[in-house]
């Protein structure tokens, strides 16, 4: 098995941002198609054997399981285990990850950030896994998973098709999902090129500073100052599209336009007191 050396996280520039936004919007289209999470079980009762691909036509439709297996070995297996007897490694075991709540493996030393998302109600579905694997920080800002992300959408689908085999009822993938996933949402290039209007950002930020302290002090509510702008933008889109589950932040993000988000990102990145 090949061991991967994960490159340092957070080194994505504009290209990474573009990919993340595309995923977010595509995921939004898929969202409606996804039913609520299946009853999550803890992973210690792992399935005895991996079910044969012939019994799971829809999982196959999701992507190329064999290619997914190769990607798993190459990209994930250095840190994660799946299958009979899987235990925790650098990362938690990933049996039955579909439908599982984020940070649900007992005793695994998760980051505070992913624990928080789990408490907020983040469940692993095709949509949320796809976003996490593409760019872990978009979904979970402070995740300990130092993995730079899998850029190619097709690769992610193949990988998830493979991982799906280790979850309950792998054949039971919602009808519309494989199709919906392929709906391409063209993101207008101007969205990515928006230069934040700092003064407008400062005015908008006055709404945020009722909860997020300007000096970055964080007790109970995370700090949002001095983030790289692209990470900030991606996080806000993740709330706006409902990928991140928090009620307060979803409510706040829903009324922000792309310009508003860019302005806020600029302001908080350069806040000066």
């Amino acid at each position: 098995m090949l061991t991967i050396t994960p490159p340092p996280g957070q080194r994505r520039g504009q290209a990474g941002l573009r990919r993340s936004l595309t995923t977010l919007l595509a995921a939004m289209a898929a969202a409606a198609a996804l039913a609520g999470p299946v009853a999550a079980q803890s992973g210690d009762s792992a399935p005895e054997t991996v079910q044969s691909t012939t019994t799971i036509p829809r999982a196959v439709e999701l992507g190329d399981v064999e290619h997914g297996r190769e990607l798993w070995e190459f990209e994930c297996a250095a840190c994660h285990e799946m299958g009979p007897g899987a235990g925790d490694g650098i990362g938690p075991q990933l049996n039955r990850v579909f439908g599982r709540r984020a940070a649900a493996v007992a005793d695994f030393p998760y980051s505070d950030s992913i624990r928080r998302m789990g408490r907020d109600g983040l469940y692993w579905t095709f949509r949320t896994l796809d976003a996490y694997i593409e760019n872990p920080y978009a979904l979970v800002s402070g995740t300990r998973m130092s993995y730079a992300g899998l850029d190619d959408e097709g690769d992610r689908a193949d990988l998830l098709a493979f991982m799906r085999l280790y979850s309950d009822q792998p054949g039971d993938i919602p009808e519309a999902e494989p199709t919906a996933r392929r709906v391409e949402v063209e993101l207008p290039p101007e969205v990515l090129e928006i230069r934040g209007d700092r003064e407008w950002g400062e005015f908008l930020a006055s709404e945020c500073t009722t909860c997020h302290q300007r000096d970055g002090a964080a007790a109970g509510i995370p700090s949002i100052t001095y983030w790289p702008e692209d990470r900030f933008v991606v996080a806000m889109h993740a709330y706006r599209e409902g990928l991140r589950p928090h009620q307060v932040m979803q409510n706040i993000a829903r009324r922000l336009t792309d310009e508003d988000i860019a302005a806020l990102a600029t302001y908080f990145a350069t806040i000066d007191d």
């Binding site: 408490r119 407008w200 009722t210 909860c211 302290q213 109970g220 009620q247 307060v248 009324r255």
Partner: protein, 421 residues
Amino acid sequence: MAIKRRTLLAGMAAGSAVLAAPAVMGASRPKVVVIGGGSGGATAARYLARDSQGALDVVLVEPTRTYYTCYFSNLYLGGFWDLENLGHSYGTLAARHGINVVHDWAIGIDRDAQTVTLAGGDVLDYDRLVISPGIDFVEGSVPGWSVAAQNRMPHAYKAGSQTELLKAQVENMREGGVFAMVAPPNPYRCPPGPYERISMVAHVLSERNPTAKILLVDPKENFSKQALFEEGWARHYPGMVERVGPDFGADNVSVDPEAMTVDIDGMVEQVDVCNVIPAQQAGRIAHLADLTNDSGWAPVVPADMRSRMDDKIFVLGDASAQGDMPKSGFSANSQAKVAANVIRHELLDARLFPARYANTCWSLIATDDGVKVGASYEPTDEKIATVDSFISQTGEDADLRRQTFEESIGWYNGIVADMFT
């Protein structure tokens, strides 16, 4: 403006940041007076001064030297928060932002002359006036009760010594005694406030005095976060809280502070502690300046919080009648930022931005059991209207509730920093 010695001193304490700004040198800086250094007033003064970098002369009139927040005062009652952590001083507003903090009462506003008279005799001119005086009680709304009786039957709806008194009464209540609350009719400050208080009193009693009872006398059909509170009371304090609604005459209540009785539509209850939260109206100065209407509150223009009675005056927070926003510290803070932007636009030609309003109110039901409700708002011609809202769900798991409580602490630290630092 008649500058008295203490005003001058406050101005001098402002230090070099302000004095360095060239606009300060001219004697003719536009003047903004802010009456009331609470959630709305302190925020407005701070944003006006900070964002104008010394180009505005900002005077904050507030009688007390320490502002005790009502928010988290229920947590103090419940033993989850210290009194010292409720109190905040105005030192940084003066020293860092150059605000002239005048500790005095405003006793009159001459709208034609554009002046404010203070109890100490000073007269302040203004180009724009902001008032955020909070609430006063409607006299006679609970027959038998008056402010003179507030030591026997505390309201604890303005924080500070009243809150301390109520806490002591609850803690020293006789074993198996009855704590009664007379809840206010709508509209009033902090819709979930009385019910969070019931929760906190129940928490204290269930630990110290488990056979005690709580009688909630409520003139309203239903109340804020009702399902969440009732679920929590049944779970954490089974059998302790009894609520009497208008169907049993709770809209016809009087009290006798001497006898310590509550009369609910003819049925007289002997109680041991009685928390009377009377009906409310805008703080007195709003009435004195003729800024209120028949409702007892001061109507404002939804787009910028300007008084409908006077376009040089802005009314913030609890005192204003604006539409759908609850009377909360969060709302007052949100409204203050909108008004501050408009005032800077009018007096200094700063860029004008469209109003954005928001509110979230957290409540603590029991240890680590926090809930929240919130919304975003937009101005229409008629009122500030809700656009999008959310509320905690019943049956949420304990981890989420604990996290919600921790977030409320984050918010508390955030909002007081946004007002006072």
